[in-house]
């Protein structure tokens, strides 16, 4: 069934959009990443103009994140205090990021900047997570074979515990300095504004490895934070460039919210290290794809963009 999209000005298959929405919603539910880094390339691939793809993708991320968050709230796996700290510092960071993005635009190499930062950050985070979770899985397997139980993870006292301004994050079971979460929020906000993604794939590993939060709590807290960051960007796009396509959004959302529900159920069944290794593989695959696009000879050297009218 073909649907004509009023803002994107293209006709697309409605079932294809439902499929994309539910696929990305599924990932969002399982891992607590917004999925912006997946949905934008997919929409571009089916012929949606870039501006509309980014803005409308963000709207679908809001819906899928709300859907997943509701389940986490019921299961009490959301650290609202941590989420709020990350969120507030995130807004400060993204304001700075937007400024840098404008500077890059003037220099005329935004596309290159975005692609390089994708490859660098996703590649680095992905390979770190992959190594760590693989080690964890192998360790668990060794203990299983030997018939012993793995020693309980000890509370490692690292620099996050030593810094001043300590704060209690009860849901996460942490009593740490408030400065590291603020720094993470600043950094993620900056990167997400500059790179045009929600930042879930950066904030999730940061909460796990830097703050030492429980993987299960990380997913819900990340979703909570993503809702506000992406809602802010939907409003910004709607007002400045009028590039949110509601018809496209509704189709993606219907698929997305259902996918997110199924995703959260899967997420609760998976072991923490399995969750981490799967996310690592996805992050690595996307960054590899972007890197290949930059290196391989494109089939068409020229690109056409329409100016004006919109």
């Amino acid at each position: 069934m073909q649907i004509f999209l009023p803002i994107a000005d293209v006709s697309v298959n409605a079932f294809l959009l439902l499929g994309i929405g539910s696929g990305v919603g599924l990932l969002s539910g399982i891992f607590g990443v917004g999925g912006g880094f997946m949905i934008t390339p997919l929409l571009l691939f089916i012929g949606i103009p870039p501006g509309v793809a980014v803005a409308t993708g963000a709207n679908q991320v809001v819906a899928a994140s709300v859907s997943g968050l509701m389940v986490h709230i019921r299961r009490k796996t959301v650290d609202f205090r941590m989420g709020t700290v990350l969120l507030l510092s995130g807004f400060v960071g993204s304001t700075a990021g937007i400024y840098v993005f404008e500077l890059m635009k003037e220099a005329g190499q935004t596309e290159l900047f975005v692609q390089l930062s994708y490859v660098f950050f996703m590649g680095a985070i992905g390979s770190m997570m992959f190594q760590e979770s693989l080690r964890a899985i192998l360790r668990a397997r060794r203990h299983l074979a030997a018939g012993t139980t793995p020693p309980p993870a000890r509370d490692k006292h690292t620099w996050v515990h030593r810094w001043p301004l300590k704060m209690k994050f009860r849901t996460s079971g942490l009593y740490i300095s408030v400065i590291p979460p603020i720094l993470i929020g600043l950094g993620v906000g900056f990167l997400s504004a500059a790179m045009g993604v929600g930042g879930g794939f950066i904030v999730v590993p940061a909460m796990i490895y830097i703050l030492g939060m429980n993987t299960k709590v990380v997913v819900g807290t990340s979703l909570f934070q993503i809702i506000f960051v992406t809602a802010y960007s939907v409003m910004a796009h709607a007002i400045t460039s009028q590039s949110v396509d509601m018809a496209l959004a509704v189709l993606l959302i219907v698929g997305g919210v259902i996918g997110a529900q199924i995703g959260t159920i899967i997420g609760f069944r998976l072991k923490a290290e399995q969750l981490r290794i799967l996310l690592a593989i996805i992050v690595l695959a996307v960054s590899l794809k972007i890197a290949l696009d930059m290196v391989l000879t494109p089939s068409e050297l020229y690109t056409v963009t329409t100016v004006g009218l919109r």
């Binding site: 009023p6 803002i7 290196v295 690109t303 329409t306």
Partner: protein, 256 residues
């Protein structure tokens, strides 16, 4: 300024047509308005007409007909990627002042037999002639290749079409053709031109048009997005939050 002087040249040309009164075009379109609704998936328009003449059909080469349909024009940027330090980056770009969003030509025979190069220049009929390339030469050393790339890409997308031999001419008097409109149409007035030619020279021209506009829900959403951007953005978010909440509530009921 340039456009105006071109128009004046065209006007002089039209006045100078040899015995222009002898043969005239009367033409019509199957629609004068195309509505883009939610289920719009391309359309087809029938262009038909007749040649009106006071004298018998003149001897000599047969009468030929060219039909063009042109969508609203916009400026476009054409960027070219180059290989630098092992990666492909945009290295050059050319801004083309005006390129139609859609352009279709249907002719009654092969293009060289239907229209001479001089009349193509004068009436702007072929695809390269409808693209405004004034001032592009200074933007890149190989500016013409950017224009060629634009035409190639839009031809592949079905936006620029040359259909030779698609116009049926009956007894040098009646003619008809069908022009396919793609699903990704831009709103606006689509200008239709019909040329009668003989021996490659234009002997009569007729202009008409068809309006393409969004209708129903499409129109309402489009206008809301443009005119009430904040309300539209907020509404999009409300839909997202409500849908997310509903799905979660529905799944909870489902599991019981």
């Amino acid at each position: 300024m340039i456009a105006r002087s071109l128009r004046i040249i065209a006007l002089i040309g039209a006045l100078a047509l040899p015995a222009s009164a002898a043969e005239q075009v009367v033409a019509g379109l199957s629609d004068n308005q195309i509505a883009i609704t939610a289920t719009f998936n391309g359309s087809e328009i029938l262009v038909f007409g007749a040649v009106k003449r006071d004298t018998p059909v003149p001897p000599g080469p047969p009468l030929q007909v060219i039909v063009t349909l042109q969508g609203p024009a916009t400026p476009v940027n054409v960027r070219k990627k180059g290989h630098e330090l092992g990666i492909w980056v945009n290295t050059a770009s050319v801004r083309i002042n005006s390129a139609p969003s859609f352009y279709a030509i249907a002719t009654s025979d092969l293009m060289p037999r239907v229209l001479s190069a001089t009349d193509d220049l004068r009436y702007h009929v072929s695809i390269p002639q409808v693209i405004g390339t004034v001032g592009t030469a200074s933007m890149a050393p190989d500016a013409p290749s950017f224009v060629e790339a634009l035409i190639r890409i839009r031809k592949e997308e079905g936006l620029y079409v040359l259909d030779e031999g698609a116009v049926e001419v009956d007894q040098s008097t009646l003619f008809r053709t069908r022009i396919k409109l793609p699903a990704n149409l831009t709103e606006g007035r689509y200008k239709a031109r019909i040329f009668l030619t003989r021996d490659g020279h234009v002997i009569a021209e007729h202009d008409t048009g068809v309006f393409v506009r969004k209708a129903g829900l499409e129109r309402w959403l489009y206008q809301l997005a443009k005119q009430q951007a904040a309300i539209y953005g907020f509404l999009s978010l409300v839909i997202a939050v409500v849908a997310g909440w509903l799905a979660s509530a529905a799944f909870r009921l489902f599991k019981r």
